[in-house]
C-alpha cells in the first residue's frame, strides 16, 4: 500500500510537471523565425553573372580610370589599409599576364601583357571556399547563385582564403574602421577585425532593384550584369556575340565572371 501511494505521487508529480511545461513547449515550438518578405522591386536571377569587356575598358576609359573600384569600395566601406600585406579589396586590377598566366601566350597581341584586368570574386557555381568553411559563414545562396558572407559567424580561420584559387578574399588583420577613407555609407555595415570579406555582387542592392555599384559606376558599359541561366539576359547576349574566357576554368569551380579580351 505504502509503495503504491508513493508511486502514485511520483507519477502525479511527473504529470504536473509535464502540464506545467506545456506552455513552455508551445512557446518554443512556434515557428521561431519570422519570414522575410522581399521588396517588390527586387531583381531576381537563378545565377547572377558578370561579363567584363576589357576591350571597352582599355579603349574607351582613360588610363587611370578606377570608377568601378571607387564606387564599390566606397559603397561597401572597404578600408584602405595601405600595405600590400593587409590589403582589402573587392574589385581591383591585376595584369593580363598575372590573371591569365595559364593561357597567356608569348607572342600575344602586343602590349596587352601588362594591361590591367578587373578581377573580383567569381561567385563560382561550385565554390571551394563554401566547401571548406567550417561554420557555413560563407555560403552559396541558392536563390541568386551569389556566394555570400556572414560576417557575424566567421571565426576567421581563413580556410576559405586557402581554398579560393582566385585570391578574391581579404582578411581584416586589424580593426578596419579607422582606415575607411571614403565617406561612410550607413547602408552597409563596416566589418570587425578578424573576419574575412569579399565581393558580394551587391546582393543588398539587387534586393532594392539596383544593379551592382561597379556596374552602375562604369561609364563605358564595360560591365554587363545579368542572369546566366536566362537565354534572353543581357549577359547571354553579350556572350553570344563575343569570344570570352574565364579564369582557371580547368579547376571545375565554374566561375561566373566572363572576360572579353
Amino acid at each position: 500500500m505504502e509503495s503504491n501511494r508513493r508511486s502514485f505521487l511520483k507519477i502525479g508529480g511527473i504529470c504536473a510537471l509535464g502540464l506545467g511545461a506545456l506552455p513552455v513547449t508551445k512557446a518554443l515550438a512556434r515557428k521561431a523565425v519570422p519570414q522575410v518578405s522581399e521588396f517588390p522591386e527586387a531583381l531576381k536571377a537563378n545565377q547572377w553573372a558578370m561579363v567584363v569587356d576589357m576591350k571597352k575598358c582599355w579603349e574607351k576609359a582613360e588610363e587611370d580610370c578606377k570608377d568601378c573600384i571607387l564606387a564599390c569600395h566606397q559603397y561597401h566601406n572597404v578600408p584602405d589599409i595601405g600595405t600590400l600585406k593587409e590589403e582589402i579589396k573587392w574589385i581591383w586590377q591585376e595584369s593580363y599576364h598575372d590573371t591569365f598566366h595559364d593561357q597567356a601566350t608569348q607572342f600575344n597581341i602586343e602590349n596587352i601583357e601588362h594591361n590591367p584586368i578587373m578581377v573580383l570574386c567569381n561567385h563560382c557555381t561550385s565554390p571551394p571556399c563554401v566547401r571548406v568553411c567550417p561554420t557555413k559563414a560563407t555560403f552559396k545562396d541558392k536563390k541568386s547563385g551569389i556566394v555570400k558572407m556572414d560576417y557575424h559567424r566567421c571565426i576567421g580561420c581563413r580556410f576559405c582564403m586557402a581554398g579560393c584559387p582566385y585570391g578574391a578574399r581579404s582578411f581584416n588583420f586589424r580593426d578596419p574602421i579607422p582606415y575607411i577613407k571614403t565617406e561612410l555609407n550607413m547602408e552597409y555595415p563596416a566589418r570587425e577585425r578578424g573576419v574575412v570579406e569579399k565581393c558580394s555582387f551587391c546582393t543588398e542592392r539587387l534586393a532594392r532593384g539596383l544593379f551592382p555599384a561597379c556596374v552602375e559606376a562604369c561609364r563605358h558599359g564595360a560591365l554587363t550584369f545579368g542572369d546566366i541561366t536566362d537565354p534572353n539576359s543581357s549577359v547571354r547576349k553579350v556572350l553570344a556575340e563575343n569570344y570570352s574566357i574565364k579564369r582557371k576554368p580547368e579547376l571545375g569551380t565554374g566561375p561566373n565572371v566572363y572576360y572579353i579580351i
Binding site: 600590400l84 598575372d98 576567421g156 579560393c164 585570391g167 582578411f171 569551380t253
Partner: protein, 384 residues
Amino acid sequence: MLERALTGSQQYYRLLMGLLILMGMGFAAYLYQLNTGLTVTGLSRDVSWGFYIAQFTFLVGVAASAVMVVLPYYLHNVKVFGRITILGEFLAVASVTMCLLFIIVDLGKPMRLLNVILYPSPNSILFWDMIVLNGYLFLNIVIGWNVLEAERKGTAAPSWLKPLIYVSIPWAISIHTVTAFLYAGLPGRHLWLHSILAARFLASAFASGPALLILLAFVLKKYTKFDAGKEAIDKLSQVVLYGMLVSIFFLGLEFFTAFYSNIPSHQHGLKYLFVGLDGHGKLVPFMWLFALLALAAVVLLINPNTRKQEKTLKIACLCVFFAMWIEKGLGLVIGGFIPNPFEQVREYLPTVPELIITIGIWATGFFVLTILYKIAVSVKEEVE
C-alpha cells in the same frame, strides 16, 4: 595519481618554473595579438596561414608516436614496448594539446570558436579535423590514465579499455589523413594537390614522433630511475629509420611528377622552396638544411653501429626531428601559398610576437608532458 605531480625534486620544480615563465610570455604576447589583431603576425593576404598552422601540422605528426608503440605492443605482441606505451600515449596528449592551441591562436575571432559545433559543416575538413583531434586526445588520456592506474594497483587493465585501445590505432592514422586532407583537396594550390600528401604526412609522422620519443626516453633515463630498455629503443630507432626513408622517397616522388611532367604550376612551389622563385628565396637555406639533416639522419640510422650507440642515435634523432620540423613545420604550409593565385611571389616570415606565442605553446605542451611523465615515472618507480 595526480598528487604525484605535486612532489618532486628541485630540478623538477625548476623545469616547471622555466616552462611557466615561457608560457606566461607566450600568453602576454597572445593578449597583445588578441587586442591588436593578426596584424602583429607576418601573415598576409597571400600567405594567409603561417607559422601557427605549420606547427599544428607538424605536431599532428608527433602525436603519432603513440600508435608506433601501441600498434606493435597490442597487435604484434612486441613485449619490449610494454614499458613505453604510456610514454607514447602521454606524448600524444601533449602534442594534440599543442595542436588545438595553435589552431585557437590562429583564429581571427577565437571567441566564436564554438560556431564550429553550433553550425556543424560536414563538408568542411576542418570540422572533421576537430572531431578526430579531440577524439584522439580523449582516447589517449583515458587509455594512458587507466593503464597506469591498473599498473599502480597491480591489476590488469579494465576490460572495457581494450576496444578503446584498438580504436585508437586507426584513429591515429585518421588524424594525419584528415589533417592532410585540409591541404590536399584545395584546387589551385599545386604544392598540396597531390594524392600522396596524406601518405607523406603519415611517413614523416612515423619518423618525427618516435624520434622525439627516443630522445625523451634518454632524458628520463638520465634524470629518473626509469629506463625504457635498450631493445625498445633499438626497435623504435628502426621505426624512425623506415619512416625517414619512406618520407624522403615520397618527397622524391613529388619531384619526379612535377619536373618530368614539366608543368610549371606544379614546379613553382618546389622551386620556391629549394632554389627560389623570381629572385625570392627566404626559405631556401632552411630547405637545404632539411636536406642535410635528413641525409645525416639516414646515414647514422642505416648503419647498425651508429644506430645502436647512444650518442650517435641521439644525434640522428635530433636530425630527424629538426629535418621534419623544417619540412612540415615551415616548408610545406608556407610553400603552398607561394606563388599566390596570380603567380606573384609574396614572401612570409614570422614576426617576434608570433615566435613568442609559438614558444609559449610549445612550453605549454612540454609543461603538460612533464607533469604526465612525472606521474607515469613515479608510478613505475613505486611499482618496481
